[in-house]
Amino acid sequence: MPAEPPVLEPQFATAEQQRSASVLGMWVFLATEVLLFGGIITAFLATRVFYPHEFERAAGRLNVLIGGINTVVLLASGLGMALAVHAAQKGQRWATLTWLGLTALLGLGFLGLKGYEYFADWRDGLVPRTDGFDPGDVTPGRLTLFMLFYFVLTGLHAVHLSVGLGLVSWLAVRVMRGELPRAGATVAEVVGLYWHFVDVVWIILLPVLYLSGHHEAADLHF
């Protein structure tokens, strides 16, 4: 890979200044994302103060097996992304491409499992406003509230993951075309930061939604 420096934009004096501006810019953007998800999680915690027992039983009915597997899948994609960024900074073009490919594949796997889980929730009668909605021993209104939070939070996370997949594939295309000079791996680093943030959001959603309730061995089903 040719080691020529990245294109320097007029308003920056040095390449290092341009790089640290981009990285700091992404970190500040991620701070705003923390508050986006944080706002909805605050609403969840506040509503949960009123109905702790019912929210615990409702959480117990989520499919924790798929949730757990998805967590590991997303962590693996995070590992792939980290190694891709490392390879990009070393300038190893093919290593970067393979890691990016693996990351994108695992991301798609997560979305696939998530889609199947939504189907399983529909099948088990957990989707409100369908005729199959079965509240079980939880008051119908409270289970609806919990499932609303579940679909809003995991839906928003899936949207962010899809944006991440778009960024990773756009990055892979630029690496394939050799447009990514070694010293300019800033783009890879910034995309990596966004991807890892999507990981962190899922890491927090898992305990908030899935694990805030008690599960039985029988819950481990697809």
Binding site: H53, D137, P140, G141
Partner: protein, 343 residues
């Protein structure tokens, strides 16, 4: 003020009436804050005027000194305001706290806010729309709930207001002292007719008030509640003989109730309302959660009537369901599906 009459203008009130002792306390706090802020504002305004006049740019060769700061003065006006602010905060809290302590013997009124009217219900059964008749000199506790959106029961003459929420009882209390007719507003935007929800608080002398109560006496709330209790066939489960399938309600109001999950709670208006609309939420100890939900079948006023009836139940008041108390006309033929029970 005759001044306005003198120049042929309509009476322009510049300060609201004081219809209760609380109003006086709030006004005194208002004037204290007005004095402090007026002083600060006037001094800033005065300094601006003096500096603007004395230091206006007269000649081109003006030499202005170079002053960059005076730390003592800076810290002075940084920490200085903390004292007056603390007094305002503490005084505001002291006057506000009495909102939360209605005297136990207060005259009780129920109000239901709905899109674009206030429906008032006196314990003696008198009903009013957009008007509330109160005896002077006796504390009154108002319990409110909304049937649709958030309203706000605003009474400027008492210097109080409270947002009326759907799904939850809120209370406010007054001690009207000066008889008269005062404005009642809806202070939380609630749609097209928000400006129509203006009513009147009529404070009467005690004798006038009791006369008014007699003139408007209808069936008391408890009586209306009993009719509903029979109509909705509550009596078929809540009975005092052998095959009762639900708790005995006599003397229940105000007692502490042991629930299935071991906790205890006080059987107040909110508990009874929740048991009617969301029965599975707090089930009393020895009983199965078989009670059907009446959400959507009873309006908020009917819930208030049932609450009034349950409150009035003493030892032996519950009717014995037998053939001489057939379900009234219009009663549902079969029990609504047991929403709570597992199918």
């Amino acid at each position: 003020m005759d001044l306005f009459a003198a120049i042929g203008m309509p009476e322009v009130p510049l300060f609201p009436d004081q219809a209760s002792a609380h109003a006086g306390r709030v006004d005194r706090l208002f004037f204290f804050i007005l004095a402090v802020t007026g002083g600060m504002g006037a001094s800033v305004g005065l300094l601006l005027a003096v500096f603007a006049f004395r230091y206006r740019r007269r000649t081109a060769a003006d030499r202005t000194p170079r002053i960059t700061g005076f730390p003592l003065l800076e810290w002075g006006w940084t920490l200085g305001p903390i004292l007056p602010f603390a007094v305002m905060f503490a005084w505001g809290l002291a006057v506000y706290r009495d909102n939360y302590a209605p005297p136990p013997d207060a005259y009780e009124v129920f109000v239901v806010g709905k899109q674009w009217m206030w429906k008032v219900q006196h314990p003696g059964g008198q009903r009013e729309i957009n008007e509330l008749h109160l005896p002077a000199g006796r504390p009154v506790k108002v319990t409110l709930i909304s049937e649709d959106v958030i309203h706000d029961f605003g009474t400027p003459a008492f210097r109080k207001k409270v947002d009326v929420l759907p799904g939850r009882y809120v209370t406010v209390w007054y001690e009207p002292t000066a008889p008269g007719r005062y404005r009642l507003f809806c202070n939380q935007y609630c749609g097209t007719g928000h400006a129509d929800m203006v009513g009147a608080i009529v404070v009467q002398r005690p004798d006038e008030h009791s006369k008014w109560l007699r003139d408007h006496a209808e069936g008391s709330a408890a009586l209306e509640g009993r009719k509903l209790f029979l109509k909705l066939q509550c009596v078929s489960c809540h009975r005092t003989d052998g095959d009762a399938k639900a708790p005995v309600l006599e003397g229940l109001y105000g007692r502490r109730v042991l629930l299935r999950d071991g906790s205890t709670t006080e059987a107040d208006a909110a508990y009874i309302r929740d048991s009617i609309l969301y029965p599975a939420k707090q089930v009393a100890a020895p009983w199965e959660p078989v009670m059907p939900t009446f959400q959507g079948q009873v309006s908020e006023e009917e819930v208030l009537l049932l609450v009034a009836y349950v409150r009035s139940l003493g030892r032996g008041d519950l009717p014995r369901p037998n053939n001489d108390t057939p379900p009234p006309i219009g009663a549902p033929t079969e029990l609504p599906n047991a929403g709570g029970a597992k199918k």
